[in-house]
Symmetry: C2
Subunit: 335 residues, 2 copies
């Protein structure tokens, strides 16, 4: 009766899909993450322990080194405890079939660095650019995969941000459907595009640059803002200044810029907020996008420090209470 693989279920009235992944109950937890943790001997992401992970999918490695051996800088593996799986198949047959389907998809882990305990601000900009380059290529590969309707890249740093292992890593999930929130945002963007004749994010970036109060930093390629209606204190977004609907089309020069800006924001959050746990989230329209979504959608990289817990009000209403205005967060982070 209970399915073997992960499955998707929809709440008919809330209209939301949920992923059921019973295998994830058995995930390891090294839990307490101290600022300078010593590598646990058993860390599966450390060099020398490559045999403890599923076989690697891709890596940046020293010339001549072998897959699943040492001498890598960035390494990509399938998630050992996946939320979605390429081979998800069986599922419960009792329920309304429109409300249930196999959780077919891709779930990869990018190990950012061989060095346990080092986060992006501790690595050089070129090393973070390397992580982003590997991520870009894996996101692109997921977007090209048959049956994948949306790709979500994200990073959980710290136990309270949802990380089950402290060794720095990034995750990529390819979903067989477009999440409701993403679809609605894409529809709103398309509507604004039709009304205004241009990308609403491009327009917003111009206004914010002129207004300045939520503007934190910029270079040739990107701008960093505290969003006008930030759901979380000190939430920031890094937007490409040129119109682009797709992170996976980023150039090498753009990736280096993104690495420099992301490291800089993370270092400022660390300084201002006492080294908080955080999430990094790629925000982009569903892929492969049609020509319209490519014009009206504009990707960004969001950084959210975890400073408060989501509570009953948020769960009940879907609305968030934020005690910090983005203008104040921007002022602090500009310093």
């Amino acid at each position: 009766m209970v399915s073997a693989g992960p499955e998707l279920r929809k709440d008919r009235l809330e209209g939301r899909w949920v992923i059921f992944a019973p295998e994830r109950m058995n995930r390891p937890h090294d839990a307490r993450v101290s600022p300078r943790p010593s590598p646990p001997r058993s860390c599966p992401f450390c060099p020398g322990n490559e045999g403890g992970t599923p076989p690697e999918i891709a890596a940046l490695r020293a010339r001549g080194s072998r897959p699943d051996g040492r001498c890598w800088r960035v390494r990509v593996i399938p998630n050992k405890f996946p939320a979605v799986r390429p081979d998800a198949g069986k599922f419960r047959s009792a329920a309304d079939p429109s409300l249930i389907r196999p959780a077919k998809g891709i779930h990869e882990v990018v190990i950012d660095t061989p060095r346990h305990g080092r986060e992006w601000p501790d690595l050089g900009a070129a090393a973070v650019r390397d992580v982003l380059r590997v991520c870009r290529d894996r996101v692109a590969a997921a977007e090209r995969t048959a049956g994948i309707r949306h790709v979500q890249m994200f990073k959980n740093k710290g136990f309270q941000a949802g990380a089950s292992l402290s060794h720095a890593h990034t995750q990529i999930i390819g979903l067989p459907l477009v999440p409701d929130d993403i679809r609605r945002e894409a529809l709103r963007s398309a509507r604004e595009f039709r009304r205004e004749g241009r990308c609403p994010v491009c327009r917003m970036l111009e206004t914010e640059r002129a207004e300045q109060s939520r503007w934190i930093a910029a270079d040739r390629h990107f701008a960093v803002l505290a969003p006008f209606a930030s759901r979380f204190p000190f939430q920031t977004r890094i937007y490409p200044l040129r119109h682009s609907a797709s992170f996976s089309r980023s150039s090498e020069a753009e990736l280096l810029s993104l690495a420099v800006l992301a490291r800089s924001i993370l270092a400022r959050l660390k300084r201002s907020l006492d080294d908080p746990p955080y999430n990094i989230i790629l925000r982009q329209p569903p892929r492969p996008a049609g020509p319209e979504a490519s014009k009206s959608g504009h990707w960004s990289l969001e950084i959210v420090p975890v400073l408060a817990h989501i509570a009953g009000f948020e769960l009940g209403t879907g609305m968030f209470i934020n005690p910090v205005l983005p203008e104040e967060a921007a002022r602090e982070l500009r310093r």
Copy 2:
């Protein structure tokens, strides 16, 4: 430039309102909540410290005792650090006026008991019924207030569930707008009602009773289920068996039933999950509901133990990954 009172802002592309409440930065935190905390001398919710709270709005008190004195069983006060306020007025003028408005509303705190450290399972059923009775009356009062479009009642127990004070309390927020998630659910319910000719929750309850696998308990008035598409492990909902769109119309007999069932579920969660933090959330259609919403909407009380952190994937997609099937949660909780 920065507003004095709380304000609401909308993200144009996400379409979501956020409450900005800078006053909440100064909330007290007694943070570490141990299973049997000794009352901090300064607990503003303990008897003897009534002078440290804003003047009470309502209370169940001993005959002849005075407002804001001792000898109460349940006491209602305005939240000292409100998310919304009746007098919210000024707000930033620079932004598009359709995206910003004063956070006018009601934010009350119901102090569940004078006894510090006692939660619902530690109180008698009649004492919890008293809390629910006061809540019902305060929710009804909020629903009658001019300008209030939706009322959210909730309870945060434990620091990780968002409680800033450990003394047992429940909160009621009356909002000047209907949150998007609530509006969408009401629209879906109304659509199902038109298609099927009856309340979709009433129908679901029949199916679930027959199917049994997610059914946990029931009495004359209520049923307890693990929802088919539970977003969280061990999430449960208590539904009235008679069709009702509104918690505030509950009878005394129903409130006693609800108290008995809620206490029982909380006690089972405590036993099965090592005394977890939790949220209790009233789910109901927006009030005052029109005649249609009264037919198609069906309230419930949701209990969500806090077992995992919300991470990058959830923030990015709005979708949740749940490692526990509701059938397994129900089996455990039925024992």
